[in-house]
């Protein structure tokens, strides 16, 4: 019995559910091939948990912080610097997230929602 397709299906189903819950736009992901859907989905969950309170749910309506939909998609270094070292009211989050989590957040910010 080949378990791989079944496992893959389950993973895709789970991913679909996660994407629907966190609202990462499938259309937006379809247009950006730099990131794996799993990475974007992981970033979406991290964002919803830790970043949405200030930057707005799914980056919409940031009442108190930078509108991340306007973040230049070619400036990853700047993104990582601000995330890890902080800026203005944003505290340094370098000790909170590992490198793969920071990459996932970057993937979500660049490709997770309609800009």
């Amino acid at each position: 019995m080949d378990v791989r397709p079944a496992g893959l299906t389950k993973r895709l189903l789970y991913l679909g559910g996660a994407l629907a819950l966190y609202g990462a736009s499938v259309a937006a992901q379809g247009t950006d091939r730099r990131f794996e859907p799993e990475q974007i989905s992981k970033g979406a969950a991290l964002f919803a948990r830790n970043c949405a309170p200030c930057h707005g749910p799914r980056m919409v309506d940031p009442q108190s912080a930078f509108d991340l939909r306007k973040f230049p998609p070619d400036e990853k270094t700047r993104f990582v610097n601000v995330l890890t070292r902080g800026k203005n009211a944003m505290p340094p989050l370098g000790g909170l997230f590992g490198p793969d989590e920071i990459d996932a957040l970057w993937a979500y910010v660049v490709a997770g929602e309609k800009r």
Binding site: R49, P53, A89, G94, L96
Partner: protein, 559 residues
């Protein structure tokens, strides 16, 4: 004769010593009688935020002018209530403790509070501090990274520093301490980061830890069976971030607890004692004498932390010693403060999460929204996540029997997200929220309300169209209310009508707590200016033209 002369001498010595040394527990109890001093958070153990002073009144307030201002060299926001003792004002914010000569506004000393720059990542709602406590020659305060500190009143030199909790696990402190029956009490913040809440008792002389009253019940303790299986109580929230009141006759401290964690209640079936509750505790031991839970299972971020105001009310023809709270959940609770019996619970704002409070059981009767939100649906809830009232403290005038409060009139769209395991330092909420789309543009965002505590009906409402107020209220014998706006105006309002009588624009936004006091028989009013806290966070873009930066402002009548 000799003996009486001797005792007279001793008496004189004692009274002189009383002037030069620090104040006593008796002075704390009598705060308000000597108007030269403001010794307690809330301007009295009862947290009435009322002063009988009346030089500044409805007729004279038009002559109110600033007499001095002092920079606090702080961009994080000012939320504190200053204290005054023997001509010196003590002010705190997240960065500094400052002593000021009240006559001139000159700084006498300031002592820095040092915390790591990443500490604010475990602070949900504004890097700030609510104020100091004074007792026996010391200034007590809490720090953002969860220490309790004692400084020398004369020099600002640190006398002791005790760790309450580890900030990397989500704990932080902004609360003003309370000295009751010789014990220093402090609360804790962090219910958005999966903490287990508590109230601590400390020896004010040495900083020795005396007791801890956890505010979530463990298995085997009373209430330990209200958390379902597992260890949800370990991350169950119930923070204690607003200073309690104290009745010295009953020797009971009243302290409210915050929201449950995570906001999504899926891992914590049950009432979850003692989240969103009012606790009555013995200050010497931390013993829990009675409790009342306002929002069982709290799925809505409905803290019951807000000020627990003590007063004497006529209810059903009898005089009752009560404790009152304008709860975040929209109900105004009145309880008998000796035994916790619920006397009244009426809505003071629009409430849709519950239909009413059942006066037999004391429990809220949830509307259909409770089922919907637990099933994962979007709901529109009133009050919104910021509550019908947030922390900005109400005032109570014992002569009119009215409460005065800065309230909020807003709903939020709200739904839960899947719960993930606790991770130290990360958010532990699992929800999302947004503003409803159909809100009429002319609907007031909040009010200043004069409320009958028992009916919760307004005597008058002053509608606010731009920003809800995020500062506390002060009521005076001059028939005035003092409060401030996020845009910086310090306001004097007619307490009988809600009419604005006077305003002065300070340097930044006001989200702090005014006080009034006297020097050489003249009345002064002081407030801190310095945009910060949750009110700033949720309005930061709209407040783009209000600069940050803390300062103290003191006002008096122009002679």
């Amino acid at each position: 004769m000799t003996r009486s002369l001797l005792s007279l001498g001793l008496l004189l010595f004692a009274s002189c010593a009383g002037v030069v040394s620090a104040q006593t527990l008796e002075d704390l109890r009598n705060d308000g009688k000597n108007t030269d001093n403001v010794l307690t958070y809330g301007m009295g153990y009862h947290l009435n935020r009322y002063s009988a002073l009346d030089q500044i009144n409805k007729a004279t307030v038009k002559r109110l002018v600033p007499v001095w201002s002092l920079s606090l060299d702080n961009r994080w926001g000012e939320q504190a209530q200053p204290l005054v003792y023997n001509g010196v004002m003590y002010v705190t914010n997240a960065r500094w403790t400052v002593a000021i000569d009240v006559a001139t506004g000159k700084q006498i000393w300031r002592t820095e509070v040092d915390w790591l720059p990443e500490t604010p990542r475990v602070v949900c709602c504004g890097v700030s501090n609510k104020g100091p406590a004074l007792y026996n020659g010391k200034v007590f305060r809490t720090t953002l990274d969860a220490f309790v500190v004692a400084l020398d009143q004369k020099t600002g030199k640190q006398l002791w520093k005790s760790k309450a909790a580890d900030w990397t696990e989500g704990y932080s402190m902004t609360v003003a301490p309370l000295v009751a029956n010789g014990v220093l009490l402090t609360g804790i913040s962090g219910a958005e980061f999966g903490i287990r809440g508590f109230i601590d008792g400390w020896d004010p002389d040495t900083g020795r830890h005396l007791w801890r009253r956890y505010t979530t019940a463990a298995p085997g303790e009373p209430g330990g069976d209200t958390w379902g299986p597992g260890d949800a109580y370990k991350h169950g929230g119930a923070s204690t971030w607003i200073t309690g009141s104290y009745d010295p006759d009953l020797d009971l401290v009243y302290w409210g607890t915050g929201n449950a964690g995570p906001w999504n209640p899926e891992p914590r079936p049950g009432d979850n004692l003692y989240v969103a509750s009012i606790l009555a505790i013995r200050p010497k031991t931390g013993e829990l004498v009675w409790h009342y839970q306002a929002t069982p299972n709290d799925p809505y971020d409905y803290d019951a932390c807000w000020e627990l105001i003590l007063g004497d009310l006529k209810i059903d023809g009898g005089n009752r010693k009560v404790v009152m709270q304008l709860n975040r959940n929209g109900f105004l609770y009145v309880l008998d403060r000796a035994n916790g019996k619920l006397l009244s619970a009426k809505p003071f704002e629009k409430v849709t999460w519950a239909t009413h409070v059942d006066m037999t059981t004391g429990r809220p009767v949830e509307s259909e929204l409770g089922q919907k939100v637990r099933a994962g649906e979007w709901i529109e809830k009133w009050p919104g996540t910021r509550g019908a009232k947030n922390w900005p403290h109400a005032a109570f005038n014992p002569n009119t029997g009215l409460l005065y409060a800065n309230t909020m009139h807003a709903a939020r769209m709200y739904r839960f997200l899947p719960v993930e395991p606790f991770k130290a330092g990360q958010r532990y909420m699992f929800m999302e929220a947004k503003d409803p789309e159909n809100r009429p543009a002319d609907l007031p965002v909040g009010h200043v309300d004069a409320l009958d505590p028992v009916t919760a009906q307004p005597r008058w409402r002053m509608p606010l169209q731009d920003f809800a107020h995020w500062g506390a209220l002060l009521a005076t014998g001059g028939g005035l209310l003092f409060t401030g706006k996020m845009t910086g105006e310090f306001l004097a309002i007619d307490a009988d009508t809600g009419k604005l009588l006077w305003q002065f624009k300070t340097g930044s936004g006001i989200n702090a707590q005014p006080i009034t006091w006297t020097l050489n028989g003249k009345q002064y009013v002081t407030v801190l200016s310095g945009l910060g806290g949750l009110g700033e966070i949720v309005n930061r873009q709209k407040l783009g033209n209000v600069p940050q930066g803390g300062s103290v402002w003191t006002f008096a009548l122009l002679d």
